[in-house]
Structure formats: structure tokens, C-alpha cells
């Protein structure tokens, strides 16, 4: 039982993204770069965004921290690339709502991101999972992109 819930949290996907993060590294040139951390535990994310009109054409991150924070950021970059700013913002908001337990999360729309749902059971880790997403929302704003 206990094992199961942990397995949820550290689902293969999360460990996979932690071990082999996607889009990790600087993105040059970029339109926006933003560094945010989780002051309580020291997780760090530096997020790079490049826009083509209204589309997030490039996204990459640097960072260090626990598996949840880094895997979440990695999954986020995979998912966001090619979406419009509006869609990106909406997705970030719905991930936040899912973590707050306000939304169930649509498995079809979320794909791999569904793995993050396991974190809901560990309230202290939710802010690790949301570090990348909150940084993205700020980044969209800084890039002058309207929010969904």
C-alpha cells in the first residue's frame, strides 16, 4: 500500500526526466530569462523562453534541486514547446489547480504530466513541483504575452 503511493510519486516518468532532463541548458538567443528558487529548500530554476510571434518557439532550463522540481521542469519544457503563449498559460494554471486538488486533470491532455498528480499526496513537495510552472507564468508575463 505504502509502496504503491510512493511508486506513484516516483513513477518511472519522474525518475526518467530527473536522470535525463529534456531541454536542459541555456537557450541562446532568448527573449526572456528568469531565475527563481524555492527559498524553503533551495531548488533552483533558470528558465529561457524564445517567442515566434505568439508561439513559444524555444524553451530550456538550467537548475538544480530534487527530482520533483527538476523532472517537473523538464516535462514542462517538452510540453510547452510549440504551444501558443495563451495555451501555455492555461496549461500552467491547470497544473496548479490540479496540485491544489481543485482539478482532476485530464489524462489525455496532460500526457506524462499526469505523473505529477502523485505529488498531491505529499503537500510539502507541491511547491517543488510548481517551481517551473510558476516561473513559466512569470516568464510569459515578462515576455509581454497575454495570459489565457
Amino acid at each position: 500500500m505504502v509502496r504503491m503511493s510512493l511508486e506513484d510519486l516516483y513513477k518511472e516518468v519522474i525518475l526518467d526526466h530527473y536522470r535525463a532532463p529534456r531541454n536542459k541548458g541555456r537557450l541562446d538567443p532568448h527573449d526572456v530569462v528568469l531565475e527563481r528558487n524555492n527559498p524553503l529548500c533551495g531548488d533552483e530554476i533558470e528558465l529561457f523562453l524564445r517567442f515566434d510571434g505568439d508561439t513559444v518557439e524555444g524553451i530550456a532550463f538550467e537548475g538544480k534541486g530534487c527530482s520533483i522540481s527538476q523532472a517537473s521542469a523538464s516535462m514542462m519544457t517538452e510540453k510547452i514547446q510549440g504551444l501558443s503563449a495563451k495555451e501555455s498559460g492555461a496549461l500552467a494554471e491547470s497544473i496548479k489547480a490540479m496540485m491544489a486538488g481543485e482539478e482532476e486533470g485530464d489524462p489525455d491532455a496532460l500526457g506524462d504530466l499526469v505523473a505529477l498528480k502523485g505529488v498531491v499526496k505529499y503537500p510539502v513537495r507541491i511547491k517543488c513541483a510548481l517551481l517551473g510552472w510558476n516561473t513559466l507564468l512569470e516568464g510569459l508575463e515578462e515576455g509581454g504575452k497575454p495570459r489565457g
Binding site: V2, L6, E44, S67, Y122
Partner: protein, 407 residues
């Protein structure tokens, strides 16, 4: 005189509870300790039979409350070998004690151009108040560096304690590295230039004998909740002559002698610094905690923790962990910070919690120290009088589980 932790555990009802269905392995006493039945009962007895406000009323019940509260003060004075109860100010804890010195002594003695010296290993509660005082007064805040082994660079003291140094604020025992600092040498150095020393004993007081005379400290702060007592109580020890000449901290009831429309006069020390109704039951509980520890003797507590910390460090290193802080057990306490390769401390804490093991992960309220160590976070296992070698074994076993996840 040695402790039998297996017997001591029976005093702590929390160990009858389970964690995720397993034996509770509590390794976070540096954060807050568990409480023995004796302390819990003492507070219950106070509320059941002695409860009244202190210093105000003239009936017998109030005298009982007063006796309990002032008795706790005497117990705390004895615990740190203070010569007089008048040196013992009850506060909410270490943080409030340090801030009391900042506001009351600091603001009336520190000026632009002066220096405040702290160290690279301070807890935020013995750092941020001094940073604020420096900003308020235009004084300079300096940090005495540490070695890679987590010891103070005492060889640099001559450069860091100058004629401008008004305050040295230092921890007696680090909550991250476990280091026990040569506070007496710092006291001598700052006294030689006419400054004062403030000692953070939040970690030392629960774990080793503390003698304010031997340390020759001007101020010393500690918290009840880390030494078997309740939250909401703590002590600021201050030298009587310094407390006498210091302006009050908070204004309000109890701290005054006479109040006129445009001015007031102050009560005697320590009451001058205890405005309003204090945390009476908590102070009484703190007194009971001091008695509990005194019965066991702090020498025995320290010896027990040396054994358990040495065993833990050995086993952690054998398990491949990097352990921070001094290698020599004589120079350190039982807060053991470490990192374990690929397993991030947060992941570790979540995983081993499932095995019933409670540790702390993060920056331990010492961000400048984490930067100095070059790590974003560490895991910390901290041991106390109720921890046994079995607890260390459970920690190591649980770490193997965590390693398995990331293998």
C-alpha cells in the same frame, strides 16, 4: 553515569505511536525535541491546581502560580550556572532573546562605523537580527570565516575583532555542522576591545553542560522546546549590570514601576524585560524540563550523544554519504548533516519517512552557510538522549531503500 536510552524512551509517550505503521525513528531533535511525561504532567498540574496570573494578585492561588513561575526561573539559572535569578529573562525562545539584545542593547550602543561580528555558520535567528541592526545603525556586519571542516578560523580573529567591534554574536553549537565553538576565546577577544558577546545556545543548552561564568558571556540565549520543554518559552541570560542599564524592550504591563501621562519608570530586572502576561505554563514546563535533564546530568547526556553521533557518522560514511562538520567527536555535537550522492535530500526525506524515519532536509535556516559549503541543501539527522544505536541502524537501512529508488 551513562544514560540508558532504552529506559529514557519510556518517559516519552510519543514513542508509543507509530510512523506509517513502523517504529518511530525521530532524528530531528535539533529542530524540536520530544517531551517526557514528567514535563507534560507538570504543565497539566499547573493548569489543574496552580493557574493564576503572576506578579499581580494577592490571593493564595496567585502565590502558587508565582512560586511555580519563579521556581522555573531559578531552575534555568542553575542550569547555566548563572549567579542570580535576576539574570534570567523569560522570552518566547532563542529568536526573541537575540532580538531583545538587538533592540535593547544594540540600538543604544551600536553606531555608524561600528562593527558587528558574526560567523559563517550562524542560524538565521542569530544573523538576520544583526543584519537589521547593522542596516538601522549604519554599522558593518562581518562574518568570521570557517574552514572546510566547519570550524571557525580562529587564526583570523585578529583581523576580525577590531577596536570598532561592538558585538560578537556566535553559536556555541552549530545546528548544521554540530561544531562546538571556542566561545571563551571569542569572549576574551571582544572584551579586550570593550565589546560584548552574545551566545546562541539553542543547540548547546539541550546537549551539553553550559556555564555562563566559564564562557564569560555577556548574553546567552536558548529555547525550551529543543530541550524537552514546551514551545513558547526560552531564556535570555544577561549579565546583571548590563540588564540594569539597558532600556526596556517591549512596553506594557508588568515591566513598569510607575506610569504617568508622559513618562514611566521601569520595574526591576528581569521583570523590566517581561512586558505583559508571560507564557506562564510554558515557563513552568521549561523548568520541569531543566529538572528532568539535571537529574540525568548534562554530562551524561553529552557522553551518550558522543557515542551515538560517532556511530552514526561511521555508518553514514560507510554507506557512502558525505558528512559535514568536524571529524573529531570531542569538538562536535550530535547534529549530523550529510549528502548521499544522487539522492537529493528532499527525495531522501520523503522516501525514508515511509520507513518511519524523520530527518530534516533543506538549508536548516543557514543559507549563508549552505553557500559556503557549496551545497543547495543537506539532509540532517540529529540525535538526542532518547536515540539508540537501533535508530542509527534504521536510518542506514532506510537510506539503502532511498538509494534503491535512484539506482
Amino acid at each position: 553515569m551513562s544514560l540508558n536510552a532504552d529506559v529514557i524512551r519510556k518517559d516519552f509517550p510519543i514513542f508509543e505511536t507509530l510512523a506509517h505503521g513502523k517504529r518511530l525513528v525521530y532524528l530531528d531533535s535539533a529542530s524540536t525535541s520530544q517531551k517526557p511525561q514528567q514535563v507534560i504532567n507538570r504543565m497539566v498540574r499547573f493548569y489543574e491546581t496552580e493557574n493564576a496570573n503572576v506578579h499581580r494578585s494577592l490571593y493564595e492561588l496567585a502565590e502558587k502560580a508565582e512560586a511555580a513561575y519563579e521556581g522555573a526561573r531559578s531552575a534555568c539559572a542553575g542550569f547555566i550556572r548563572a549567579r542570580s535569578d535576576r539574570s534570567i529573562v523569560f522570552t518566547r525562545g532563542t529568536t526573541e532573546s537575540v532580538n531583545l539584545v538587538r533592540f535593547s542593547w544594540g540600538r543604544s550602543h551600536v553606531n555608524a562605523g561600528d562593527e558587528i561580528l558574526i560567523t559563517e555558520m550562524e542560524h538565521h535567528s542569530n544573523l538576520v537580527p544583526w543584519q537589521l541592526l547593522a542596516q538601522e545603525t549604519g554599522a558593518t556586519l562581518r562574518y568570521l570565516p570557517i574552514t572546510d571542516d566547519g570550524e571557525l578560523r580562529m587564526d583570523l580573529l585578529g583581523d576580525y575583532v577590531t577596536d570598532k567591534t561592538k558585538i560578537v554574536a556566535v553559536t556555541l553549537m552549530s545546528n548544521v555542522l554540530g561544531t562546538i565553538n571556542p566561545v571563551r576565546d571569542l569572549a576574551d577577544a571582544v572584551h579586550a576591545v570593550g565589546g560584548r558577546i552574545v551566545v546562541d545556545a539553542a543547540q548547546a543548552a539541550p546537549h551539553m553542560p553550559v556555564d555562563v561564568g566559564e564562557l564569560d558571556t555577556d548574553f546567552l540565549a536558548f529555547s525550551s522546546h529543543k530541550m524537552c520543554g514546551p514551545t513558547g518559552a526560552g531564556v535570555l541570560y544577561g549579565r546583571e549590570d548590563l540588564l540594569e542599564e539597558m532600556p526596556p524592550f517591549h512596553g506594557g504591563g508588568e515591566m513598569i514601576r510607575e506610569v504617568y501621562d508622559d513618562y514611566s519608570t521601569w520595574n526591576e530586572i528581569p521583570h523590566k524585560f517581561e512586558a505583559g502576561t508571560p507564557n506562564i505554563a510554558q515557563a513552568v514546563g521549561m523548568g520541569a524540563a531543566v529538572e528532568y535533564l539535571t537529574d540525568l546530568t548534562m554530562e551524561a547526556v553529552r557522553e551518550h550523544e558522543k557515542d551515538i553521533a560517532a556511530y552514526a557518522i561511521d555508518r553514514l560514511q560507510a554507506a557512502g554519504a558525505t558528512v559535514y562538520g568536524p571529524a573529531d567527536i570531542q569538538g562536535r555535537g550530535a547534529a549530523v548533516s550529510f549528502n548521499l550522492g544522487a539522492v537529493h535530500p528532499h527525495d531522501m526525506a520523503t522516501i525514508i519517512d515511509q520507513e518511519g524515519v524523520c530527518i530534516r532536509a533543506g538549508h536548516h535556516c543557514a543559507q549563508p552557510l549552505m553557500r559556503r559549503l557549496g551545497v543547495p541543501a543537506t539532509a540532517r539527522a540529529s540525535f538526542y538522549l532518547y536515540n539508540t544505536p537501533e535508530d542509527v541502524d534504521a536510518l542506514i537501512d532506510s537510506l539503502e531503500v532511498a538509494k534503491g529508488w535512484f539506482a
